[in-house]
């Protein structure tokens, strides 16, 4: 099983954000395996599942870079290891 992480993007305006997150993933060696998007009232939430086995930086640095990209675009972007979701939602 490949190790995965969840990148979540929430904000009001999503113009070009998929391209920017994808470019960052490519740069850092994260392979995108799934993208989905939900609209919650005025907000949109994009969820990206990425494989992190091939990262060329430590995962904690990947998290920092993703968050920085969010701040630069006035969006809330976070990356979290998939284990937290598996723990909470699977028995």
């Amino acid at each position: 099983m490949k190790k995965k992480a969840v990148i979540s993007v929430t904000g009001r305006d999503n113009v070009g954000i998929i391209a920017k997150v994808s470019a960052l993933c490519a740069e850092l060696g994260a392979n995108i395996s799934d993208i989905s998007q939900t609209v919650l009232q005025d907000y949109f939430a994009m969820i990206m599942i990425v494989e992190i086995d091939g990262l060329n930086v430590p995962f904690t640095e990947f998290v920092d870079r993703v968050r920085t990209l969010g701040r630069e675009n006035s969006l809330e972007i976070n990356a979290m290891h998939e284990d937290i979701f598996d723990s909470m939602h699977k028995i």
Partner: protein
Amino acid sequence: MIDTKDILETINMIREENLDIRTVTVGISLFDCVSDDKARFLNNIYDKITRTAADLVPVCSEIEKTYGIPIINKRVAVTPLSLVGGKLDGDGYIEAAKTLDRAASALGINFIGGFGALVHKGSTRCEEALIKAIPYALAETETVCSSVNVATTKAGINMDAVAEMGDIIKQTAYLTRDRGSVGCAKLVVFANVPEDNPFMAGAFHGVGEPEAVINVGVSGPGAVGSAIRRAGDCSLSELAEVIKRTAFKITRVGQLVAHEASKRLGIPFGIVDLSLAPTPAIGDSVADILESMGLETCGAHGTTAALAMLNDAVKKGGVMASSHVGGLSGAFIPVSEDAGMISAAEKGVLSVEKLEAMTAVCSVGLDMIAVPGDTEASVICGVIADEISIGVANGKTTAVRLIPAYGKKEGDTVDFGGLLGRAPVMSLRPQSPAEFIARGGRIPAPIHSLKN
């Protein structure tokens, strides 16, 4: 594949509902630090604590970042110092407290627990010396926490120790009077104290514990409160299910963090404490949960029943989520650390007597309650004796953390800042239990067969 709905739920619980890991606490045995030479003993404990927990703070930061879950407190609990102090006198114990304080500061943690004694059946010379040193130790350190166990269901209640703790609490309040008597916020009197509790101020490393251990305390009143509000108009049977499910999810995060911290620090995993620990932040309140269950204000008649159900459902949901549970496990009701409790107390709805009833059905006890500074020591002893009796008679942990805030009277407020919060000064009955307390001796252990 992980479900998008589940992902959003987790993110929402962390971001909007204040879900966090309240504490990762490393328990450290100090038995191999014993020495008849004071300087060597102090060096030994400093070295052992700073060596064993050296990576605690950086490892917790890594885990926070990896899983996106905040870990609010990183702490250390040590063997009760009265068990390892040997021939230390009072001044020696104060120096030992300062050594713990230095070690905590070197590690970058906010509290270190274990400046304590277990005197449920009687005190040794070491324990007497340590207890007398508590007010000075708490006044002269920032991070050191102290607990004294004065009773167990098997041994009964050591009323000599209860009588002494009244004076110790008053003295601690006086010596820290320039800081709202904050020393008392770091001092707990227990019945049936657990040996693996990760929460301060009562954490210490029990004698049955291994060399070192990781214990994790979870939180999540905000997440439980939101789930109840989302459930809307439903029966209590259905509500219990909602609480159980939410508690399961919260506890699973605690188990994950405990497992990871244990692996990364190379220290065995002990327990997850299934707790609902509030903070003064809005929306992170146990009182709010009780109110969202349908009470107009926390403290109204019905509060004890609501709390009993909440506490039970939290344990039922949590116990399946973790491989080992322990500590205090249950809902906490510290007045100053819970915005809803503060508000209910300020309205005069929540009284010390109601809180006492609530402690019969949830974890801990009369916690973080400010009382008038001129309260007689014997009245404080009466409060302790009552609360400890509830624990002893019911075979559960109870505790008292009262703050007789120096110079303050009923209606005033004491502000400790940060996680310790802000406490409205609540009234106690001034009638004297002094003669009862002064009798001393022990209240015998209760019989546990004729249960009616």
